[in-house]
Amino acid sequence: MKLNFSIFSLLRLFVIIMILFILLAPFLWILLASFRPNMELVRNQSLIPNSLTIENYVSLFSKSGYWQWIINSLIVAIYTVLISIPLIVAGAYSVYRTYFWGRNALSLFLLSVYIFPTALLVVPIFRIFNDLKLVDSHLGCALMNTAFAVPFGIWLLQAFLKSLPPELEEAAAVDGIGRMRTLIQIIIPQVAPGIIAIAMFAFIVSWTEYLFAMTLLLSNDLHTLPIGLTGIVFGQYRVNWGFAAAGAVGSAIPVFLLFLIVGRWFIRGISAGAIK
């Protein structure tokens, strides 16, 4: 029995390592590649690099709009997070903690965002945003991202909100504390980890977004990272892999840092603090 058990554990460990390898090894591979000269990447097929260089990064940092793109991406992401959080918290509180006719239907209506074939309706979106003077503006882009972050964000917050006892609000009501004040001073502090998680979710949604940025941001100096990156990488006749690798690493680093700092909050924040 004991032996069987440990064989099972070993097998499980092996599978976990395999999964991790498939999911994470490409990042290490691209990191390595970003320090190799392009010519070597094309000709030399060995795993071990012959020579290392920072020329890819030099051209990324100094010859492309990298810094501008990063700043633009951050601006859009921060807008998205700042607009999303109040909408998500208020919406989730409304749907999961207040009582009004049709709240179920409303929550389903919100999820209907994802029915929307984004790639197909960029034209009408462009027209509407043009009327609202939101074309070629980071805010407009952030509003689109927010619309796609909010419904799932509301759903993500449910475990947390549902785990709070209803007596919290009742106690506050008996003590004469207004409903808004209860939400802000009692409920929100209790769901803080959940809010961190949805903030991360909204950030990632915005950070990875491609289509709306491509459609709505016309000026070059407003382009976000994905747009700029695809422009220089896939815009050329032949892909410069060394340079592309450096660009990929440069785009992944901010996310990497984000997860390094607050990553462990992510699951914790969407599972009602159930993770020890």
């Binding site: 009742e170 106690a171 009501a173 008996v174 003590d175 004469g176 207004g178 001073q185």
Partner: protein, 360 residues
């Protein structure tokens, strides 16, 4: 503090009526306990008084105000919840002061009142702690303190002791009695625990199926239960019941069961029913050497100073309390007498107490 009057209260959830025609007047400074099994409507009644539940019909007065349409916060009542509902991100001091602060009291006044309550409830050492760092008993005291600090007209408590372990519950019960006596508070208290109800309440409102079936001081509820349900629910171990016929022989009323006859005292002479339910409490029986009622022992439970003996008497299963020193085993034959002045008779049809003018 203020009096509270519940008039004609009804509560319907859809088709089901969970509170029916509740009429209770609670005096200023009175400790009134709603007691009954789960589902009897006691918590709903309390929630209607607080304002967390709307009324389907009836009136609620607090002091001289009709509060039917007032939101909970405007009723000047404080509530202690079963799970305490402490704000877990605030320390004890802020938990105690939060209601006052949101009412716009000056910080100095808040601090003063928090200090006073903390002293009263022995929370002074804990003011900086978060609820997570407190024991169950301490949390309970904070919940109580949060109510006391507001100095409300009425305290409403929903099973506030049921999350405590047995020993702590006894101790807290005593403290709660002392505190409410000291403050001369009007308290409406909800519990399913009849011992708690008996020990704490100035009066009990015993509820069953949405109705108040008896509203009396504890002694009266115990000695003169208004119906079979109250008789069975209040008192431990519970009362025995058996069907009897009432006959008259030689100008005496006699109860006949399938196994024994019992001559009733004189004051029952005007009894008119020909059949009834006889009720007696296990401690109203004494073992006798001969005569009395005979039965065969089925189970013996040792309770400490006493033993609870279950007997088969005719077709009925009864229980009696005997001194622990008695050596009794299952299978033994026993004889016991009943204390004839502690007999309860209930109507067979509606199970209501048969009341006669009793000379005592």
């Amino acid at each position: 503090m203020a009096s509270v009057a519940l008039k004609n209260l009804y509560k319907n959830f859809g088709q089901t009526t969970v509170v029916r025609n509740v009429n209770v007047e609670i005096d200023d400074g009175e400790f009134l306990v709603f007691v009954g099994p789960s589902g009897c409507g006691k918590t709903t009644t309390l929630r209607m008084v607080v304002g967390l539940e709307s009324l389907s019909q009836g009136e609620i007065h607090i002091g001289n105000r009709l509060v039917n349409d007032l939101p909970p916060g405007d009723r000047d009542v404080a509530m202690v919840f079963q799970n305490y509902a402490l704000y877990s991100h605030m320390n004890v001091s802020r938990n105690l002061g939060f209601a006052l602060k949101s009412r716009g009291l000056a910080d100095q006044e808040i601090a003063k009142r928090v200090q006073r309550v903390a002293k009263m409830l022995d929370l002074e050492e804990l003011l900086e702690r978060k609820p997570k760092q407190l024991s169950g008993g301490q949390r309970q005291r904070v919940a109580l303190g949060r109510a006391v600090v507001r100095n409300p007209q009425v305290f409403l408590m929903d099973e506030p002791l049921s999350n405590l372990d047995a020993l702590l519950r006894l101790q807290t019960r005593k403290e709660l009695i002392e505190l409410t006596t000291e403050l001369n508070s009007t308290v409406i208290y909800v519990t399913h625990d009849q011992v708690e109800a008996m020990t704490m309440g100035h009066r009990l409102a015993v509820m069953n199926k949405g109705e108040v079936v008896q509203l009396d001081p504890p002694e009266k509820v115990f000695n003169e239960p208004s119906n079979r349900f109250v008789a069975e629910f209040i008192g431990s171990p519970p009362m025995n019941f058996l069907d009897v016929e009432v006959v008259e022989e030689n100008f005496q009323k006699i109860l006949k069961s399938d196994a024994f006859d019992l001559v009733l005292p004189k004051y029952w002479d005007s009894l008119s029913e020909s059949e009834a339910i006889l009720g007696f409490r296990p401690h109203d029986a004494q073992l006798v050497a001969e005569g009395g009622v005979a039965g065969r022992v089925t189970v013996v439970e040792t309770l400490g100073a006493e033993k609870l003996v279950y007997l088969k008497v005719g077709k009925n299963s009864l229980s009696i309390l005997v001194p622990a020193a008695e050596k009794i085993r299952s299978g033994d034959q026993l004889r016991f007498d009943l204390n004839k002045d502690a007999l309860h008779l209930f109507n067979r049809a509606d199970e209501k107490r048969i009341m006669l003018f009793k000379q005592s």
